[in-house]
């Protein structure tokens, strides 16, 4: 499979008042890849996600999303978060943001929202098209729950799930939007080693199915095991880029961030 770029970010800059949280950042993700974005706390990783998903309005820079099938290139700049999701970027949050008083299945069904159409008329009259659509929402959502292994909790309220499963549910919900690129913000944060290992499996499985993934993570073992490419940030700037082996040996990275952790 030839690699085609999916996400191109060029010169992305974000200022908060006097603070430059992102400083002319370039980043590229190709189809089928798992790319990791790492860096010390406060480096601006989450800000980067917020900028490309339309939650923040970047001060400068370009963001392009290409559909590898149609090779159609869309600029994401200035779009609202829901429009970005429609174009094909879906994300999870560093601090879990599920819909706590909806069932697990419904949480995933919400992800189907931007791929379906029924509105007031359809809701009230429940015509054939609407019923078909609802059925498809159910089937797809349930299939995704099975994929992440949460189907036994389908009717449970989301906030009754164990912590690790809540993170998996966030991934499931994002997958339901059929993203071209899946953005994961510290998916392993707060997980115990077993949960992290299971997450590692899940991400690999999703990736094998052709899903491109951009992930922010602190767990170095996970990052090294998963990534094809690693981008390292510090103080809003990109300080290194390369394969796990290259990053492991990059002196700038070791100095800025990894320290002895990487030897483990």
């Amino acid at each position: 499979m030839t690699k085609q770029p999916i996400l191109n970010v060029h010169g992305l800059t974000m200022d908060f008042g006097g603070i430059r949280a992102l400083n002319s950042l370039d980043l590229e993700v190709n189809s089928g890849e798992i790319v990791a974005l790492i860096g010390p706390n406060g480096a601006g990783k989450t800000t980067f996600f917020n900028c490309i998903t339309g939650i923040y309005k970047p001060t400068a820079g370009d963001i392009w999303l290409t559909n590898p099938k149609t090779t159609k290139k869309n600029s994401l700049k200035g779009l609202k978060p829901n429009q970005v999701t429609e174009k094909g970027l879906a994300r999870t949050f560093q601090n879990i943001r599920l819909f706590p008083k909806m069932t697990v299945l419904e949480n995933v069904m919400i992800g189907r929202h931007c791929r379906t159409k029924a509105f007031i008329f359809g809701a009230i009259f429940r015509n054939a098209a609407t019923r078909r659509e609802e059925q498809s929402i159910l089937e797809i959502s349930y299939a995704i729950l099975e994929k992440v292994g949460l189907e036994r909790f389908a009717d449970e309220f989301a906030d009754n799930l164990p912590y690790g499963d809540q993170r998996r549910l966030e991934i499931a919900r994002a997958l339901a939007t059929e993203p071209l690129l899946l953005l994961l913000d510290e998916p392993a944060a707060g997980m115990n080693p077993q949960e992290t290992a299971a997450l590692d499996q899940l991400i690999k499985q999703i990736s094998r199915e052709g899903q491109a993934i951009l992930l922010i993570e602190h767990d170095m073992k996970l990052v090294m095991s998963l990534s094809d490419q690693i981008f390292v940030m510090d103080y809003g700037k990109k300080i290194a880029q390369g394969t796990p082996t290259e990053i492991r040996e990059n002196p700038a990275v070791i100095k800025a961030y990894l320290g002895e952790e990487v030897d483990a």
């Binding site: 829901n82 879906a90 943001r97 008083k101 929202h113 809701a123 009230i124 609802e134 449970e156």
Partner: protein, 404 residues
């Protein structure tokens, strides 16, 4: 629980209450005889009363905290009403009983009772309308009565000036209110919680003040009278018949509203509203258009208020701005909160209780607002989720084998 510490706390609470209520409970000034009566015995009543109430509350709380938790997860069981509704035979039975009562009500009871019931049913529909905005979409709207007023005045004015009938104006009134819903919706799209509440409160007052002060347009505080009652296929009905007819109309409206709101709740749109209530940012990140979803909630809620406004004007044949005060919004909101946010059955119960109780407890009418406040405070303490809390629909899902 009856530790010394608790006793001391109870004692202090009651003393504090005695102190607070001292000026009104104990001192009685007779301005004519120019005497002051000190009713010391009331101190004792107040102290003992507060002390007992304090322990009652503590006792209930204690029981609640120490009750074994129901097997955490699935809240399937719910209230009695939900259990009945989940059982198909019992559901049919319940619906049959309610339908029978509804059909024979005006023939068995007096036209006064029928009138009261009609009003209660109007509040059921208003409650269900507001439930879309507050209960489902989580947008705290304190100016809901404005849309009710828009509907009522749309009918009154068009009836007054052009002689247009009830059935013609019914959809117009609804649409007009929905339009105002969108007008209100636009500026408040970015607001949440308390800020939204304040702006909507202001909006409600603005509409009322316009109606009160723009005399040439709305006839001001004196209002509009002699509005036509609903006609029955073009036939004008007498007063008695009209009351019964209006009652049946309301029953039909309630049934239609329940049907529609229920379907909305279980749809793509309804899920989007609930998601919006739960987490606005996550909701947008999942591809839901926040603006559109909010505006639709506002305008659909307003639509029902508008329809009921037309109904109100036709029923009473007289409107003036004092029917549309903040108190009205507060009552409708109380119906939603008391009944259980987002729960259709809850809202129905809430409306019937809040509207019928004061009517049948006329003797207590002076204490109406006191009782009202008291009930709401008790609700907040003991059942913050409302009388009948909403249970989310669970989907029975059979995996279909791929067809080939």
């Amino acid at each position: 629980m009856f530790s010394l510490k608790e006793l001391k706390k109870g004692l202090l609470t009651s003393l504090w209450f005695v102190f607070l209520t001292f000026p009104i409970v104990v001192i009685k000034v007779d301005p004519i005889a120019r005497t002051v009566v000190w009713r010391w015995e009331n101190v004792a009543y107040m102290a003992i009363g507060t002390f007992l109430v304090y322990f009652l509350v503590r006792f209930i709380q204690y029981r609640r905290e120490n009750r074994p938790k129901p097997a955490a997860a699935r809240e399937k069981t719910g209230s009695i009403v939900h259990r009945i509704l989940q059982n198909p035979t019992q559901r049919v039975f319940l619906v049959a009983v309610v339908a029978t009562i509804a059909v024979f009500f005006p023939h068995v009871l007096s036209s006064y009772q029928t009138n009261v019931m009609t009003t209660a049913l109007m509040y059921v529909v208003l409650g269900l309308g507001l439930n879309i905005v507050v209960g489902m979409a989580g947008l705290l709207d304190l100016g809901f009565v404005a849309f009710y007023a828009v509907g009522a005045y749309t009918y009154s004015l068009l009836n007054l000036h052009y002689g247009l009938g009830f059935w013609t104006i019914l959809p117009v009134g609804g649409l007009m209110a929905a339009f105002f819903g969108v007008m209100l919706g636009f500026p408040v799209l970015r607001l949440r919680g308390d800020y939204l509440a304040i702006v909507t409160l202001g909006f409600g007052e603005i509409i009322r003040l316009i109606l009160e002060n723009w005399g040439e347009f709305s006839k001001g505080p004196s209002g509009i009278s002699n509005i036509s009652r609903p006609s029955f296929f073009g036939i004008e009905l007498g007063l008695e018949q009209s009351i019964i007819y209006t009652y049946y109309l309301m029953v039909i409206f309630v049934v239609i509203t329940i049907f529609i709101v229920n379907r909305l709740q279980d749809s793509r749109l309804g899920r989007a509203w609930i998601a919006l209530r739960e987490d606005e940012i996550a909701c947008q990140a999942m591809g839901i258009d926040k603006r559109k979803t909010k505006l639709v909630a506002f305008s659909l809620g307003a639509f029902w208020a508008g329809i009921m406004g037309v109904m109100f004007a036709a029923k009473t044949t007289f409107v003036n701005p004092s029917s549309f005060t903040f108190l009205e919004s507060a009552i409708i909101l109380a119906i939603v909160v008391l009944g259980g946010m987002g729960s259709i059955i809850g809202v129905i119960f809430g409306a019937l209780i809040l509207i019928l109780m004061p009517e049948y407890l006329r003797a207590l009418s002076e204490y109406r607002m006191l009782a009202f406040g008291g009930i709401l405070v008790c609700m907040m303490v003991f059942r913050p989720q409302g009388l009948i809390s909403n249970i989310r629909r669970t989907y029975t899902f059979e995996k279909k084998l791929p067809k080939n």
